[in-house]
């Protein structure tokens, strides 16, 4: 399987200057809006601590809470299915839809269904799947995965959307007015809500106490997907469970503030039971989560509530775009989750980070993201999957830096070398540093040499 090369992908992204500038500014703006909310709530850090503790408690008792959730969901009249992996999830969903005579499925945004690659699976079996979230729909029509978990088409400018819509849903190719484009998608999608035999959502939270599925949207598309067809399927990662209704207060107060800098999403839906005469199915999905639960350094990533704040603040993500990570989950959370799906394929992702720690600070559930990134690097090195030609270089570095005489010989050579290399050799393609930066000039004396020359009398030999 081909290794994702984040650095190469980022080069393409950075070359498109207008797109880069917009992408960076837009997401930084969301980060600033988040800050205004966090500064405005005296209890902000307390809420983060609570959210983190509730999630850690739940994950440490996950089996009991899953069983409680299942019991209550069944008592409400829903049917509960368990999928150990993506393939089983897709098969379960397909079988439910087929048994119901489904031709058209409308769905709201669900990263889990993207993770499972559900759409192509269903489409190949004759079920039309309509993404109803505007950003997801743009990406569906453009045959591209979503680039951000909250704003899926944030990497596109209005001209890009106009092009896609003109090509795929017959809008005026010369009209890139955003209101026109959004209204066009609304009008085009509406008949699908009305004719679909089935609707699907993901879940932001699954409440064990009541068997409730909680979905937070701004567009209203989850509700339209659920309240119109006679069949509702919810795809739920097993880590989405929380103990009680009361805990929703903590998470709902944190989620949209973290994601978009707004106190709450326009609609916060609580789906507990099917309407009379309709069916509700819940598919609980593992797909590697139970295994991740057993990783002492990495299980904290299961606390994630999919707010995207880490992406908004990450200076690398903002300048490379979600698609450069080559995975459903991108940005900082992607960096620590994706290696569990395929270590080799995603071995470059933990190095697509400066370890600056901003992600950890904005995470509403206090996932120690940058510390996990650091730990993943160790695992990748141990499994000899370092993406760059580093293993040998680091061994050499380790030998030189642990030997004072070797070190002095090396730095004194470097010092002399850099001064005397001709300019064209410094700035060739092989020297990455010099591509866009001047190389530091090495002074004629190292500190140690200066010290020996000027302070030798005071020097202690050890």
């Amino acid at each position: 399987m081909r290794r994702i090369d984040h650095a190469e992908a980022s080069t393409k992204f950075i070359r498109a200057r207008d797109h880069l500038d917009f992408h960076d500014k837009r997401l930084w703006d969301l980060r600033k809006k988040r800050d205004r909310e966090s500064e405005g709530l005296a209890e902000w850090e307390t809420l983060r601590e609570l959210a983190s503790a509730i999630k850690e408690h739940t994950l440490s008792h996950l089996a009991d809470y899953l069983e409680q959730f299942e019991r209550n969901a069944i008592a409400n009249g829903a049917q509960v299915h368990w999928a150990k992996d993506a393939a089983e999830h897709n098969q379960i969903v397909h079988d439910i839809l087929k048994a119901h005579g489904t031709h058209t499925l409308v769905k709201s945004k669900s990263m889990l269904t993207d993770e499972c690659e559900m759409r192509p699976f269903l489409e190949n079996r004759g079920i039309e799947v309509m993404e109803t979230d505007l950003g997801e729909r743009i990406q569906q029509l453009d045959d591209e995965p979503p680039s951000h978990i909250v704003v899926p088409a944030v990497h596109k400018l209005r001209g890009d959307v106009a092009r896609v819509f003109a090509e795929k849903i017959g809008t005026d190719p010369k009209n890139s007015d955003v209101h026109y484009l959004a209204e066009s998608q609304r009008q085009h999608t509406r008949p699908y809500f009305l004719k679909a035999e089935a609707g699907m959502t993901g879940a932001n939270f699954a409440v064990a106490e009541t068997g409730t599925i909680v979905v937070c949207t701004n567009e209203g598309n989850a509700d339209l997907s659920v309240h119109l067809p006679n069949l509702y399927i919810a795809s739920v990662g097993i880590e989405k469970v929380i103990p009680s209704i009361e805990h929703l207060g903590v998470f709902v107060r944190l989620l949209s503030r973290s994601a978009l800098g707004s106190p709450i999403t326009q609609i916060t839906s609580h789906f507990r039971a099917p309407r009379a005469g309709t069916a509700m199915h819940i598919v609980l999905v593992d797909n590697g989560r139970s295994e991740r639960l057993g990783m002492p350094d990495f299980w904290y990533s299961l606390k994630c509530i999919r707010c995207g704040a880490c992406m908004n603040t990450c200076p690398v993500y903002r300048r490379s775009g979600g698609l450069s990570y080559g995975a459903t989950y991108s940005g900082p959370i992607g960096v620590i989750i994706d290696p569990t799906f395929n270590l080799r394929k995603y071995s470059s992702l933990p190095f697509a980070s400066t370890l600056n720690g901003s992600c950890t600070n904005v995470c509403p559930v206090k996932i120690n993201i940058h510390e996990q990134i650091y730990k993943w690097r160790q695992i990748i090195a141990e499994r000899h999957q370092l993406p760059f030609v580093k293993q040998e270089a680091m061994q050499v570095a380790g030998k030189v830096l642990s030997n004072p005489k070797l070190y002095r010989a090396a730095v004194e050579a470097t010092g002399a070398g850099i001064e005397h290399l001709p300019r064209f050799m410094m700035y060739n393609r092989l020297n990455a540093w010099g591509r866009q930066r001047e190389v530091p000039a090495a002074p004629s004396l190292t500190f140690r040499q200066w010290y020996l020359k000027n302070r030798q009398r005071k020097a202690r030999t050890r």
Binding site: A7, I14, D24, W28, S38, E39, L41, A42, W44, E45, T313, P315, V316, R319, S353, T354, L355, N356, G357, S358, N361, Y374, W376, R377, Q378, I379, A381, E382, L386, F388, K390, Q391, M394, A397, G398, L401, S402, N403, P404, Y407, V411, W433, R435, Q436, R437, E438, P440, A442, P443, L445, T446, F447, R448, W450, Y451, R455, A459, R460, T461, R462
Partner: protein, 247 residues
């Protein structure tokens, strides 16, 4: 108190003036400073590359060189942080633990241990942008982090504001990472350079003549970017300003 001077490898080679300023500053403040001659590096290059076991011998040498001191002080936030948090490839004996706990970044040491209230010899009549490296800011917690709801404070600013004539500019994104990130600067060069360009442009737009930092690694990267862009920015370490550099 017995203080050892820890001069990070890249300061030793590329910015010896920062090591000199640190030494002189500590001596001005009456500190007895020893410079262990056989020091090399804290091991961060291997550590940050995930090459944990390759760092062990370097870590052991660090501990050997810096044992027996009350404090180990170095002009680098990222190196001090690495020693305090990540020097874990070697067995954690009492000696190792002691050396790790006692390693301080210069500003921390001046602010929290020596509690320096004045630098009478210092004067820097320039417009300055303060850059707190990410390890200095978020790991060593030397100033309020913009992401966190916490009271405003800044140890570097406390010290620098004692300098006569200094003026601070306000960049747009004061604590966004500048993009150095160690080997990131080479293996993710496109994003690294873009981040560096954005950082220096931000300070330049805010009116900075100088960018000052406690981390010369960040400065090295930003300087490289500014020079390539042809920006009239100069780069200086906090130690140099506090030690009395006029420019």
């Amino acid at each position: 108190m017995k203080v050892a001077l820890f001069v990070p490898c890249y300061v030793d080679v590329f910015f010896p003036e920062v090591g000199i300023a640190t030494l002189e500053l500590l001596e001005r403040l009456g500190v007895e400073v020893t410079y262990p001659l056989d020091q090399t590096c804290c091991g961060q290059p291997m550590g940050n590359s995930g090459c944990h076991s390759d760092a062990a011998a370097t870590e052991a040498l660090f501990v050997k060189n810096f044992s027996g001191f009350d404090y180990i002080v170095g002009p680098s936030g990222s190196c001090a942080h690495h020693v305090r948090e990540n020097l874990t490839a070697i067995e954690q004996t009492a000696q190792v633990t002691r050396v790790r706990e006692r390693t301080f970044e210069l500003v921390e040491f001046l602010h929290d241990v020596l509690e320096v209230k004045a630098f009478p010899w210092a004067e820097f009549r320039h417009k300055v942008g303060l850059h707190n490296g990410c390890a200095t800011l978020r790991a060593l917690r030397e100033a309020k982090m913009s992401e966190i709801h916490e009271p405003a404070f800044s140890k570097p600013m406390d010290l620098l504001s004692k300098v006569k004539g200094i003026q601070f500019v306000k960049p747009d994104r004061p604590d966004e990472c500048c993009g150095f990130g160690g080997t990131f600067s080479v293996f993710e060069e496109p994003v690294s350079a873009r981040m560096g360009y954005d950082k220096v442009n931000d300070h330049h737009r805010a009116g900075a003549e100088y960018i000052v930092s406690g981390d010369m690694s960040c400065m090295m990267h930003q300087k490289g970017c500014a020079e390539r862009l042809g920006l009239p920015l100069k780069f200086i370490h906090i130690a140099q300003i506090l030690n009395g550099a006029r420019a």
